[in-house]
């Protein structure tokens, strides 16, 4: 099942009084069902904050975020978690070091009172391309790529429709990145997921996304189709600079 996402005039301010910082002045974009939407920009431009707002990990924002026309803010917690899940950047930091893969994967099932736990866990772990015997391993017994697969399995186990990916491969080697990107691509084809993906690597955007937004100081400067990358079809100066730098980095001799 695919869902659409729409954000309108989302704004967030951290701190109060004179120290207040408006991190996102007014962000708005829409993602159609089954699309892979990229968010790029330099560090500190608010890319991850947008994901945290959509997932309600940060809930002090104002504006509207609608998933399939329904406001995330009004969605009950249980329903929200079954609709959207997030995969974090660092697979070394996002898994509890003293919990086995089985514990990690069974916790959401217990909370959501879902039956056939063993069956569901086996399915989730096989879906991400790991053997079932890995259920009894601990994070320190896994490589970085395997950990990220477990993190993806954890996000998949509640069968959400929207996956928020926060730099899912930037902590990984190229060879492992390829495995994870292939996995995400395959899952999207099979299940029709909608992805919102934060990354700083335009080559990854070009490989995965249909459209992407370039962010600068919390604002979306431009939303571009994937085709705009190779020929640098951006019009905003910063977006042009970013794409230009990435092209130069890839091809310069």
């Amino acid at each position: 099942m695919s869902v659409s996402v729409e954000t309108r005039d989302v704004s967030i301010t951290f701190g109060t009084g004179p120290a207040a910082v408006r991190v996102l002045p007014s962000v708005g974009f829409s993602v159609s069902p089954g699309e892979c939407f990229g968010l790029v920009g330099e560090s500190g431009s608010g890319k991850s904050t947008v994901l945290r707002c959509i997932s309600m990990l940060t809930d002090i924002w104002t504006g509207d975020i609608l998933i399939d026309g329904k406001s995330v803010r009004e969605m009950p917690l249980i329903e929200r978690c079954r609709t959207l899940q997030m995969v974090f950047q660092d697979p070394y930091g996002s898994l509890h070091p003293r919990q086995s893969v089985r514990t990690v994967l069974s916790e959401p099932l217990v909370i959501h009172k879902l039956g056939d736990r063993e069956e569901r866990m086996r399915k989730a772990i096989t879906d991400v391309g790991l053997p079932v015997s890995f259920l009894d391993r601990f994070p320190h017994q896994l490589s970085g790529g395997q950990r990220q697969r477990v993190a993806i399995a954890r996000a998949l186990i509640l069968e959400p429709s929207l996956l928020l990916l926060d730099e899912p491969t930037s902590a990984l080697d190229v060879s492992v990145q390829a495995e994870i990107l292939n996995l995400l691509q395959r899952l999207r084809e099979e299940r029709g997921f909608t992805y919102i993906m934060v990354t700083h690597d335009l080559a990854v955007v070009d490989h995965m996304c249909d459209r992407f937004a370039v962010m600068l100081h919390g604002e979306i400067t431009e939303v571009l189709p994937r085709d705009a990358i190779p020929a640098n079809g951006a019009t905003h100066p910063y977006a042009r600079e970013l794409i230009g730098a990435s092209l130069e980095y890839e091809n310069a001799h």
Partner: protein
């Protein structure tokens, strides 16, 4: 041919308590050139860099030859090593957020290099540091000199780091993932500055990275490491003509702008790569 800066033969490193060696027989010589070392995490590339500066307490380092200029790095005492580190050989680390001292002004940290290795007054070292900060294209070096690391951006921090490492005019600079913590737009700037200074001063450079694009653009020669061994050595411009299946696998696994959307090639690791001799 001019005398090489660094000669390494059969370098082996074993961390204390480890059952196997992290680096297994690496050999290369380095002249006044830019050498890239690429490989995945755990391939031993950073370990080689750290071993050259003898920054691996607790590890056993053996080699048939480990010669830096006229000196044998294996037999130098720690006291003699202090005169090499920072003065004749220095290292640029990955993330300026963690490698600069957070409670000291950045300028003083740069000047310290000069103060430590040359007989001079504080004022003199300050002047040297200011000139160097200007050379790494920091606008208004006087203001930046008195700032603390948290007040400057990542790209600026990395330029401060470069200034610090080049101030004593070393013969060899080891850059360990110098730009992987930086944004794309800043990355090129920083690399161009480093590249310019290294070329102008004729410094030998070892660039340790997992980024094939980076070594392709900023190195003359590339060593590819896998599981503690060098599996292939190539001129950087011939990277596309690599023959070893591991190198080819790495190149194919990289998504490219304008590339097709076919699933990326995934490395099919062969056990014989572990033993093959480059």
């Amino acid at each position: 041919m001019e005398k090489p800066i660094l000669e390494l033969e059969n370098l082996r490193i074993r961390y204390g308590g480890a059952s196997s060696e992290a680096v297994r027989g690496v050999s290369f010589t380095l002249g006044r050139e830019r050498l890239g070392i690429v490989g995945e995490s755990g391939s031993g590339k950073s370990t080689v860099g750290r071993a050259l500066l003898r920054l691996l307490p607790g590890a056993t380092i053996t080699a048939d030859t480990l010669r830096f200029g006229e000196q044998d790095l294996l037999t130098l005492s720690e006291k003699e090593m202090l005169k090499v580190r920072g003065r004749r050989m220095s290292m640029i680390l990955q993330d300026p957020k963690f490698s600069l001292n957070p409670i000291r002004r950045v300028g003083d940290q740069v000047a310290e290099t000069y103060l430590r290795h040359f007989k001079c007054s504080k004022a003199e070292s300050r002047d040297k540091a200011l000139i160097m900060l200007e050379a790494v294209k920091i606008r208004d070096p006087k203001r930046v000199y008195d700032q603390y690391p948290h007040e400057i951006s990542g790209g600026m921090g990395q330029r401060v780091m470069i200034a610090m490492m080049l101030l004593a005019d070393p013969d060899l600079v080891i850059a360990d993932e110098p730009t992987s913590a930086l944004d794309v737009t800043v990355r090129l700037q920083v690399l161009n500055i480093l590249d310019g200074l290294v070329r102008d001063r004729g410094i030998g450079l070892i660039m340790i990275s997992h980024d094939l694009n980076l070594v392709r653009n900023f190195c003359d020669r590339v060593l590819i490491m896998y599981a503690g061994r060098v599996v292939e050595t190539l001129a950087a411009r011939d990277l596309d003509k690599a023959e070893h299946p591991y190198t080819r696998g790495l190149l194919a696994a990289q998504p490219r702008i304008g590339g097709g959307r076919a699933p990326l090639a995934v490395l099919d690791r062969q056990p014989e790569w572990l033993e093959e001799k480059a």
